[in-house]
């Protein structure tokens, strides 16, 4: 039971980050700046919570900060129509640099006000993460907004012809994605390991991007992927001191064990894309990564 809670706590961070990225990608915008937005969320959350004394204010501030960061990306790729890949990379470098610089002042502060726990270390955020899965599913598949987002991601030209403001939809999705990334960062610095250190996200943003592809943009798959990733993460510590016949002889080091989710992502992406039927059923954003401009 304890192990399951540990895994779910680890997975909650991935759910937050990935869900935002999924929505952003659904609308056709790839945001590789997740790590940068997340680390900004961590610092803002920590700083706001410490200064105000309330973790909830911290979470809200982190979401706003993440959203604002994402607008930089949005401006560059939606309004200025520049490369999404390059802009995302730059956003990550910028976010890490900005937080390392500003975060100096918050290094020596002790533990921040923590998100309160309900029972034995479980925070409400864990349930929020779980609730997001059906919620996102509902929004994407059962609401008009979701329909519009999918239309914009699949065929922006057609959506534009139908009178949808492509840029506005993309801005909204990118902004929500940034807010979710900020939330993920604040979850890290206010609940999961309550402290601030520069670069504390340590690559978790990139894992979320991997998970977004792993999930094929489906909320249920995000949950599975996040739990799988969280599970392997915890498993590498569980396995220490155990001698399991086959596993122990193949995965002689935790580093080899950690390769599994990345290789699994490659496998899934290949399998899905290789099968025409499957690809059609998944219906991913065909216009992912393509800036949209009116031809007229």
């Amino acid at each position: 039971m304890d192990t399951i809670i540990l895994i779910m706590q680890a997975a909650t961070l991935f759910i937050f980050g990935t869900m935002g990225e999924v929505l952003s990608q659904r609308s056709g915008v790839l945001n590789l700046g997740l790590e940068g937005m997340m680390v900004v969320g961590s610092l803002t959350g920590f700083a706001a919570a410490t200064l105000s004394g309330s973790p909830w204010i911290g979470l809200a501030a982190a979401m706003i900060a993440g959203g604002l960061m994402s607008l930089i990306h949005g401006f560059i790729v939606i309004t200025l129509r520049q490369s999404q890949v390059v802009s995302g990379m730059a956003l990550t470098i910028f976010g890490l640099g900005l937080t390392a610089y500003v975060g100096k002042h918050f290094l020596m502060v002790g533990a921040p006000p923590r998100v309160p726990t309900i029972v034995s270390g479980i925070t409400p955020l864990l349930f929020l993460g779980l609730a997001l899965v059906p919620l996102t599913w509902f929004v994407i598949y059962r609401t008009r907004f979701g329909l519009i987002v999918r239309a914009v991601g699949e065929d922006p030209e057609a959506a534009d012809t139908a009178g949808i403001n492509v840029a506005r939809v993309r801005y909204i999705c990118v902004f929500i994605g940034g807010m979710m990334a900020g939330l993920a960062g604040a979850y890290l610095s206010l609940a999961y390991s309550p402290m601030w250190r520069e670069g504390m996200t340590a690559g978790r943003g990139w894992i979320c991007i991997a998970l977004a592809f792993f999930s094929m943009w489906r909320p249920a798959m995000v949950l599975i992927g996040a739990e799988l990733f969280g599970g392997l993460w915890i498993l590498q510590f569980k396995l220490q001191g155990m001698d399991i016949p086959v596993i122990s002889s193949i995965f002689t080091s935790p580093y080899l064990l950690m390769m599994i989710p990345y290789l699994a992502t490659v496998l899934i992406v290949t399998l899905v894309m290789s099968n025409e039927k499957l690809r059609k059923r998944i219906g991913g954003p065909a216009a992912l990564g393509v800036p949209y401009e009116r031809s007229s």
Binding site: D2, L107, S193, M195, R197, E198, F237, G241, M242
Partner: protein, 369 residues
């Protein structure tokens, strides 16, 4: 092609400006000492680098002829650049690198600048006569925490969040186990590895999984106080490392759960560096311990329910180690995996053997990955 030409010209132009602006580096009197501090992490890490920077500040204050220049978060590929910049531009004549990953680059810098003393920590290599290295008997205060942990545990399981199976970590785990066994023969040290010096979330995960396995006292060898924070949030007693982490050990009830922490005071070795450098010596292997104050124990939390006789034992052992009459690694010691006798009764490990230790004593529970 035109693009190429224009850009080439702008580069040449830029270089020209630089050439004109070339100025000599700041001249120093030969007695002045400039400490060039290349820290592997930011100073605010509340641990390893923080302790180093405290010592630097102490010496700059102590000697009027000592100044310092600091660069934080230096990675190995950047080290040579950073060190040469400190030497050329700021006249640094003692370069200090606080990590063993700098072993090779320290030799390179020393070769390039034979007049500069290059000191790094936790190493064994000096190819050139101006390389110095230093470390200390951090296992001594850790042994004292072991005594206390042995008295505090009720489940007889002490959790240890450890970075990597390397000698300076192993020596602390063993010392803790020896101490714990001395007051509580049933106490075991459960060790789990994070495979990283600094990764707060992972450190928290490992601490939580140790607690889930029944450990009720947590110790750590990591560069962040996450394990302390995690244990405190579950109201479990814990021990910090590197620096006093009591700031991070406040539990949900407002009580402080950090018992104490083995801490470093690098000022004695920095003092030695400065004195040696001024005397023209640029090479030493410094091994500090409790007697010169390089390692110590932070003040013990009065709230911790440590029995009076254990407190007295801690005090006694501390004095014996300062006097050099007590050796932590005294026989008989047996290996943890196959029970082989490693140190017979009446003997003890030499410092050199401790510095290379790659095995654990009997009441340590771990499997090397």
């Amino acid at each position: 092609m035109k693009k190429f030409l224009v850009l080439s010209f702008s580069v040449i132009f830029l270089l020209g400006i630089c050439g004109l602006g070339l100025a000599g580096s700041g001249a120093q009197s030969d007695k002045d000492v400039v400490l060039g501090c290349c820290w592997m992490a930011p100073v605010g890490d509340m641990g390893w680098t923080y302790a180093h920077d405290q010592a630097r500040a102490k010496l700059v204050k102590k000697y009027p002829f000592v100044t310092s220049v600091v660069r934080e978060s230096v990675s190995v590929p950047d080290m040579n650049t950073v060190a040469s910049m400190m030497i050329d531009r700021k006249g640094a004549n003692i370069i200090i690198m606080n990590g063993a990953q700098f072993t090779d680059v320290a030799q390179e810098v020393a070769k390039e600048y034979p007049d500069v003393m290059v000191a790094y920590t936790e190493g064994f290599t000096h190819k050139y006569p101006n390389v110095a290295y230093y470390f200390g008997a951090i296992y001594q205060p850790t042994y004292l925490t072991g005594l206390m942990a042995g008295a505090l545990t009720k489940t007889n399981k002490i959790g240890f969040v450890a970075a990597m199976p390397l000698p300076q970590v192993n020596m602390r785990i063993n010392a803790m186990a020896i101490g714990a066994r001395e007051v509580n023969p049933d106490a075991e040290i459960i060790v789990k590895w994070t495979n990283s010096w600094f990764d707060p979330p992972t450190e928290g995960e490992v601490a939580r999984s140790l607690i889930a396995e029944g450990c009720d006292v947590i110790a750590q060898h990591q560069d962040s106080p996450t394990a302390v924070t995690t244990a405190a949030s579950k109201k479990l007693w814990c021990f910090g490392y590197d620096a006093d982490m009591s700031k991070f050990g406040v539990g949900p009830d407002g009580k402080n759960y950090q018992v104490c922490a083995p801490i470093w005071d690098w000022s004695s070795v920095f003092d030695r560096m400065i004195k040696d450098y001024r005397a023209g010596v640029k090479n030493f292997d410094y091994w500090g311990d409790m007697s010169d104050g390089m390692v110590d124990l932070s003040p013990i939390n009065p709230d911790a329910p440590i029995p009076a006789q254990v407190k007295a034992l801690v005090k006694k052992r501390k004095q014996e180690m300062i006097d050099g009459t007590f050796k932590v690694f005294h026989g008989p010691l047996y290996r943890w995996d196959n029970g082989k006798l490693m140190v017979p009764k009446g003997k003890s490990l030499s410092v050199e053997e401790i510095r290379h230790i790659d095995w654990f004593v009997k009441n340590v529970v771990t499997k090397l990955p």
